[in-house]
């Protein structure tokens, strides 16, 4: 009993220390020039990375709890493709002139609301009924993802080239060019979503028992699933707006978290996954940028490792 309680706390402390260390290193290593320029510049980068890492980790863990398996993630099920499609259709239908005239915070809010609406509409039926086979879920995810991406790229082809370049700017806000406005709104969104999410931590543990057991314990299953999907949609919107689509990053950190934490209680798994995501993202960026002097190749490394893990999990899951 003592052992099972002490280990997750120890893991949490160690991971927090590593995460803080990585962030401090990222802020200070190889700093040539004036500190009053470097600190805000790098600080914004770190904040956006931490936000994105947190959003990806929490949304993936919650999504896997609702889906009752460790293979699916919001990204694999096409959530971020959906976000990109919504972005594209917004530029397509309204035109960039009207978009840039809008308050960016309002615009982002609008995008997130539409995203939540569509995500709940499209995915609720998959997860609130009786359990479905993993094959069906993966297939639906692939079809949805492909459909959303194709529709988006179709619209991008027939759009005015000027509009396209503005759209591209909006879609691929990388770490080096995050707008402070967007960062602030994202921070607010994540804070509100987190506040709601942490209230429900005992519910996730019950959800993880499976549909029948959860209903037996008095959970309003349909409502709980919808709530989690809303939270996931908000978090995916934020992470996709900040760093663009990353398919396998969430899969990597969520599975790592279950390995490392030594418990399946969400009050430990969620922070462990978030810390691991921060360490991977900030640490990876640190090594690539400062040690190897590469640029923006981190996503390739993460996707490579995550993709391999996905294949391994899929083969093992099917073999079982």
């Amino acid at each position: 009993m003592r052992e099972t309680r002490a280990r997750p706390i120890r893991v949490l402390l160690i991971l927090t220390a590593i995460a803080v260390g990585v962030i401090v290193l990222f802020m200070t290593l190889n700093a040539r020039g004036r500190w009053d320029f470097i600190l805000p510049f790098r600080g914004m980068k770190v904040v956006s990375m931490v936000l994105a890492a947190y959003a990806v980790a929490v949304s993936t863990v919650l999504f896997q709890t609702v889906g009752h398996n460790r293979i699916l993630t919001p990204a694999i099920m096409g959530f971020d493709s959906l976000y990109i499609l919504l972005q594209t259709s917004l530029v397509f239908s309204l035109g960039s002139a009207r978009l840039t005239a809008l308050d960016p915070r309002l615009l982002f809010g609008l995008e997130v609301v539409t995203m939540v609406l569509f995500a709940v509409l499209l995915y609720r039926w998959l997860f609130s009924g009786t359990s479905r086979s993993l094959h069906l879920l993966v297939l639906v995810g692939i079809v949805f993802g492909l459909l959303f991406r194709s529709l988006a790229s179709f619209m991008q082809r027939i759009i005015d080239p000027n509009e396209f370049s503005i759209l591209q700017d909006r879609l691929f806000a990388n770490f080096n060019s995050v707008e402070s406005d967007l960062l602030l709104v994202s921070f607010g969104m994540v804070a509100v979503a987190s506040l709601a999410a942490w209230q429900l931590v005992p519910v996730y543990d019950v959800l993880a028992l499976g549909r029948d057991a959860a209903i037996n314990l008095g959970l309003d299953y349909g409502r709980a699933v919808t709530t989690v999907l809303v939270l996931v949609a908000v978090l995916v919107s934020v992470s996709t707006a900040l760093v663009g689509p990353v398919t396998f990053f969430g899969l990597l950190v969520a599975n790592l978290a279950y390995q490392v934490a030594g418990t399946h209680k969400h009050r430990f798994i969620l922070p462990v996954a978030a810390l691991l995501a921060v360490i991977c993202l900030v640490g990876g960026q640190l090594i690539l940028e400062r040690v190897f002097a590469f640029d923006t190749a981190l996503s390739i490394v993460i996707e490579f490792l995550g993709g391999i893990l996905f294949l391994v999990l899929l083969i093992r899951g099917i073999a079982r």
Partner: protein, 252 residues
Amino acid sequence: MIEIAHVSKTYADTVVVRDVSLRIPRGGVTSIIGPNGAGKSTLLSLVSRLLPMTAGTVTVDGLDVTQTPSDILAKRLSILRQENRVTSRLTVRDLVEFGRYPYSKGRLTAEDRAHAARAIGFLGLEALADRYLDELSGGQRQRAYVAMVLCQDTDYALFDEPLNNLDMKHAVGMMKLLRRAADDLGKTVVLVLHDINFASCYSDTIIAMRDGAVLHHGTPQEIMTRDVIRDIYDMDVEIQDVRGYRISSYYI
């Protein structure tokens, strides 16, 4: 009392439960028997709100199961399904403590822990309490799930084939335990059973289903006759009296 009135369940064109009306009184052990595909498990799922019914109503102590908020029902009625595949890595104690969720909503009090400890003791799982579920044998795991249901401390406890995967020693142990839950703890126990002899020896009432409908309903003495069993299973069996219980030998 569980009151089932004109309940039906249809999937597309197949009728799984056909206009079933039943009264299951408070207290005692009630067994539901019948051939495969008779709709026994489905009926149990309908009563416990795990499946929506196509027609009819089910009330538990006057509470309509489709209208009453789920968390209120969870303090009156619990169910254990046949397959329980939990993906989380949990200890026996973790699992049993989930039974307190309807009361504690995840924040366990000392009283909740005491309830869990009692349920673990009732099932004789003290030595295994801190072991993980995936390290246990099928029978031990089944006992852990039953402990969770008892920990939920509901007046009505429904079990869907609780003897699945148990050897004869553990099967007898499980039936004695459920009998004790009814006699000592005052629970109303409803079971789906495949072995009619267990139903005969341990229940107060037997409900026999076939093709989605209730065929017979009565005491073990009334159900365990050659004619009734032939009616239910299309089989000719011999019924013997063994120490006051009716036992059928259907193996040869």
